[in-house]
């Protein structure tokens, strides 16, 4: 394998920093336990030192996972019209679009509002729980990479705005009532936002690679 590794940790060990956004090289940056280091050339945050973000993120991720079940199975909105009532849930929209042969729209909606957020929460729970329990397996490394790579494809917050717009559009046409799924969805949205913002990826990588190096140096 043609791999040579020199610098170890970006800040803590080698004291060499490379900016992710402009590739500026910064040497001999002082290490500071409670600081945020910013790139002088482009303003990108190079390093964030935040402790104990992992257990907090785990708590939020578990809350979000619990909310996921009612958010998917319970109706989000109930429409009443001429004595008839119609329910809408998170996946019913995709199913109907699939039946109408709008495959691209159906799959895109299902992925970004349901599957990607669920998968990311599962990965996050797996990684943070393993670190908390001091368990190591090499699948943790790609799990966290996947979690990071899928970030922009999960769109829970955009879907929430979509619900609001849909309600306004229907106001003149019919009577709409919120279902239990709506509250579950709101709770899911809130806790998953908290789970990602609370997490400091630098801390996770430090913890994961620390455990990894016990088996093979990196």
């Amino acid at each position: 394998m043609q791999v040579v590794v020199t610098g170890r940790s970006q800040v803590i060990n080698s004291r060499i920093l490379l900016c992710h956004e402009c590739d500026l090289l910064i040497e001999n940056q002082e290490i500071c336990e409670t600081c945020k280091v910013q790139c002088p050339r482009c303003g990108h945050v190079l390093y964030k030192q935040k402790h104990n973000t992992i257990s907090r993120s785990l708590a939020y991720a578990l809350t979000a996972l619990i909310c996921f079940y009612p958010a998917v199975t319970q109706p989000i909105m109930i429409l009443e019209m001429l004595g008839l009532s119609q329910q809408q849930s998170l996946i019913s929209g995709s199913l109907i679009l699939l039946r109408e042969k709008y495959y691209v729209v159906a799959i895109l909606t299902f992925l970004s509002s349901c599957l990607v957020p669920l998968f990311r929460l599962l990965l996050l729970t797996y990684v943070t729980l393993s670190i908390t329990l001091n368990y190591y397996h090499k699948s943790l490394i790609w799990s966290f990479r996947l979690f990071h790579e899928m970030e922009e494809w999960g769109m829970l917050e955009v879907y929430m705005l979509g619900i609001i717009v849909a309600v306004v559009k229907l106001l003149s046409m019919a009577e709409i009532q919120p279902g239990f799924g709506l509250w579950a969805y709101a709770a899911l949205l809130l806790s998953s936002i908290l789970a990602t913002t609370a997490l400091n990826p630098h801390e996770v990588w430090d913890a994961l690679l620390d455990r990894k190096t016990r088996e093979e140096p990196c």
């Binding site: 043609q2 791999v3 590794v5 020199t6 610098g7 970006q10 920093l17 490379l18 900016c19 992710h20 956004e21 402009c22 590739d23 500026l24 090289l25 910064i26 002082e30 500071c32 409670t34 600081c35 945020k36 910013q38 050339r41 482009c42 964030k48 935040k50 909105m77 429409l79 019209m81 001429l82 008839l84 809408q88 849930s89 995709s94 199913l95 109907i96 679009l97 109408e100 709008y102 729209v105 159906a106 895109l108 909606t109 509002s113 490394i141 790609w142 990479r145 990071h148 955009v158 705005l161 979509g162 619900i163 717009v165 306004v168 559009k169 229907l170 709409i176 630098h202 690679l209 990196c218």
Partner: protein
């Protein structure tokens, strides 16, 4: 917890990681020594290592042009059809905004207009401007360009709004013969445009914004470039 923000002084001699023969792992933030002409993998996390995203400019152009072509049917075809007691009422994206205005929901009309018309337009034009400004050395500071790019990256996903609205309405209003909302071909085109513009943004390497500037100063000895901005 309050954390202090430190901004190190800009070094007198600006050296990039690429010039120093280093490469940063985009996934796990480890710094490695770069091996030219070899496929390199991060030994810590297994991610592929590259000093600049491969073929970044060409890929960005490809996704951008594809999304611009598809943006024509997005605006001319219907995005959804409302069948209300037997009468069809197809609407385009702009038609939907106008309908909301007529209903008196100005705030929501504004939100939909921003998310489905302004955001995609701004995003496509913005990426194009950045690409052109690199090619033709347009007078724009690096900070302006990077701020614009970060903004474009941030807003892009919000244009999925109309797609979600269509799928919610299609699921909710589904009483045959009375009221039925169905998706239209523009929905497929619009969804594809959103994905394409997101791919265009993610294949662009922001580090190129600074590399180009250094090429302009080719005649000056490399390490004597005056501090940017």
């Amino acid at each position: 917890m309050v954390s202090k923000t430190i901004t190190p002084a800009l070094p007198d001699k600006i050296i990039t990681g690429k010039e120093a023969g280093l490469v940063l792992c985009a996934e796990c933030y480890k710094v490695h020594r770069y091996i030219p002409d070899a496929e390199q993998e991060c030994r810590c996390c297994g991610a592929e290592l590259y000093q600049r995203k491969p073929d970044s400019i060409n890929r960005t152009w490809a996704f951008l042009i594809a999304s611009m072509i598809l943006y024509i049917p997005v605006n001319t075809m219907m995005i959804m059809n409302v069948a209300y007691f037997g009468t069809d009422e197809p609407s385009t994206i702009m038609g939907g905004v106008i309908l909301l205005l007529q209903m008196g929901s100005h705030a929501v009309a504004f939100v939909v207009f921003v998310a489905s018309v302004l955001v995609p337009l701004f995003k496509m034009i913005g990426i194009m401007l950045i690409l052109f400004s690199l090619k033709y050395k347009v007078n724009m500071t690096d900070r302006q360009r990077i701020k614009m790019f970060r903004f474009i990256e941030f807003i892009g996903r919000w244009s999925m709004l109309d797609i979600f609205v269509v799928s919610i309405l299609a699921a909710l209003v589904h009483i045959t013969g009375v009221a039925e909302i169905t998706a239209g071909p523009a929905a497929t085109a619009f969804g594809t445009v959103v994905v394409l513009t997101m791919l265009a943004a993610s294949s662009f390497d922001t580090r190129l914004l600074w590399d180009y500037k250094r090429k302009n100063y080719k005649n000056i000895e490399l390490n004597q470039e005056p501090a940017a901005d």
